[in-house]
Symmetry: C2
Subunit: 399 residues, 2 copies
Amino acid sequence: MNAKSIPGGTITSAKGFLGGATYAGLKTKGSLDLGILYSEVPCVAVGLFTTNRIKAAPVLLCQKHLVNRRAQAIVVNAGCANACTGERGLEDAAAMAKLAAGRLGIAPQDVLVASTGVIGERLATGLIAENIEKVALSKEGGHELSQAILTTDTYTKEIAVAVEGGKFIIGGIAKGAGMIHPNLATLLCFLATDAAIDAHFLEQALRKEVDISFNMITIDGETSPNDTVLILANGLAGNEIISEGTREAEAFQAALEEVCTYLAKCIAGDGEGATKLIEVTVEGALSLADARVAARTVASSPLVKAAIHGNDPNWGRIIAALGRSGAEIEGSKIDLFLNNICLMEEGCPYTFDRDEVRAAMMGSEVPIRVCLNLGSFAATAWGCDLTEEYVTINSEYTT
Amino acid sequence: MNAKSIPGGTITSAKGFLGGATYAGLKTKGSLDLGILYSEVPCVAVGLFTTNRIKAAPVLLCQKHLVNRRAQAIVVNAGCANACTGERGLEDAAAMAKLAAGRLGIAPQDVLVASTGVIGERLATGLIAENIEKVALSKEGGHELSQAILTTDTYTKEIAVAVEGGKFIIGGIAKGAGMIHPNLATLLCFLATDAAIDAHFLEQALRKEVDISFNMITIDGETSPNDTVLILANGLAGNEIISEGTREAEAFQAALEEVCTYLAKCIAGDGEGATKLIEVTVEGALSLADARVAARTVASSPLVKAAIHGNDPNWGRIIAALGRSGAEIEGSKIDLFLNNICLMEEGCPYTFDRDEVRAAMMGSEVPIRVCLNLGSFAATAWGCDLTEEYVTINSEYTT
């Protein structure tokens, strides 16, 4: 790895990025709920959004504002998702962009907007107007910003890496499974780099990394209307513009992978009610699509997730999930490892010490490795165990 | 409806069918675990099986024995699924058919086999050999048989209907979500009719009804390697052979629908840990496929299921599930009703009395109706609420 993790690093670690947050009254609890990421100069900007056909207003606004692949700030709130809110929701998202633009002295078109929280309620733009001036921007403000996007996440998800001996930095923050009112978990991830980079390459690099990180995590199979990954690159590192096929492009791609994978794993491990991170690697698949769908199906199987919660090496559930995944498999060729202990070889149960496997499963990470022995493709997916707490969180009547 | 429910009816209600069961020691608890359905004469027989690529040995054996669309008996056990057991599992399933054939004095080829229980363990055919003679067959024996297929189901699922003023009878039993050891829920359904019927039409009729009944229920999104629906028709009613396009065919089809839908709803409502049946109807879809996938996605959404458990009219989750279902939808056209109370009209939140809706949701059945207002296709799916108990059942270490 040529990327070096920066201790205490966050989204504002890259040159020229400032952040901050305040409590605006959008959450019922008095924690930070309105934040801004600001770059001192306009950035090349790219976004990837939910595939849900119901797209929240801030997603639609971001897509509009990113047509020119340029942005200078992100304004984000928790407490209200501004989803399923119709035409008025779009007006509210635009108002939020305009308020942030006024605060920062830039054009509303250069402001991206994200929201997370309850669906179907209007955004209190009045509260945003009253409180946006209170957002104090600073180099350390990324930490506050990472708090302001949380809902019932139990910890902040932050990282920054220095690439090629400090030539440039990529920082990022994310949020995952959480609710204020019972609601969908929304995935939000913001990335900021001071690298000078070609917009086309940046989009391609982001798409590639999101595919193997955020698109490979699963908490409960639900896709939020608000899922958003944004990257801003302001070029203040002063490097030569990175474009496809160069050595710098490779270094950037590898560093982006490290950042995205770290944040994705944080989200998976901090799923609602979760006590363990599950890492499912499928090898020897006939195609990449097969490897991906097989890994994701196992990682999202409620029966596998519940068994892992109970430290139960119930491997039949893993095989059954593989069987319904749609991937090409041959039962008689499968090797299966749980916590690196072989449970099945060439489709036949392998004699194992149940107590040994149980003990190994009690850690906070449970790796599952499946060798399909059909081809040469592999993929890894991340999930979490299914606990009574997940049900309790999501069935409590709190609205 | 020309089909009349028979009080106390079961799978042996049709002429010439006998049933019975015994405890053979396959379950750890001392409840019935080995049963037989027997017809006094050979039957036209059709089966539909799991789409899981990992198919249990009894499924593979049934497919082989049904090539001639003829059978005279079903032998079934609980306690062991005989799945993921390789070549030896196939030998064990064949041995079980042979033992039942010996007991009944018929050819092994005319015996169908089904198993439910733990995956990955060999079937104790020795116990079956020792105990098969203890299965006493009788006209009332369908009730015992319906018990012998249960695992953690909380009640038996039985029905019989008399069609066209008693011209012929269709009876059926089923089992759903249940475990002995933590394991996959298996769907088993056996149907028996004394109608004389054309084999081709019977298969077509069964496929149609299974598509709108068993294929539209969901407990947890898992497909078992053992799922099996079998129908035997022995012709002892003495009716003219029913074939496609006749009035009798219509009557048979309608009665079969009643039987399959009843049993499917029983299974959905008796899902592991469930306290409520959820019925999701999607209307106004652009295609039947869209209506089906939309209804099933809502019925299987963990967040919708958890909200219903908590009597929470959290309609945003329903809309979000529709949005990720893959069905064509337009957010601005959707009408949504929960317990027949409108929550959303033309995509906009409709003002409703939250306490009134909450109170209505407290019953044992929660109907959700969605009008997409795009086309003329409709479908209904059934599921159950998601409870802490589901997680507890499936995470307890009991093997």
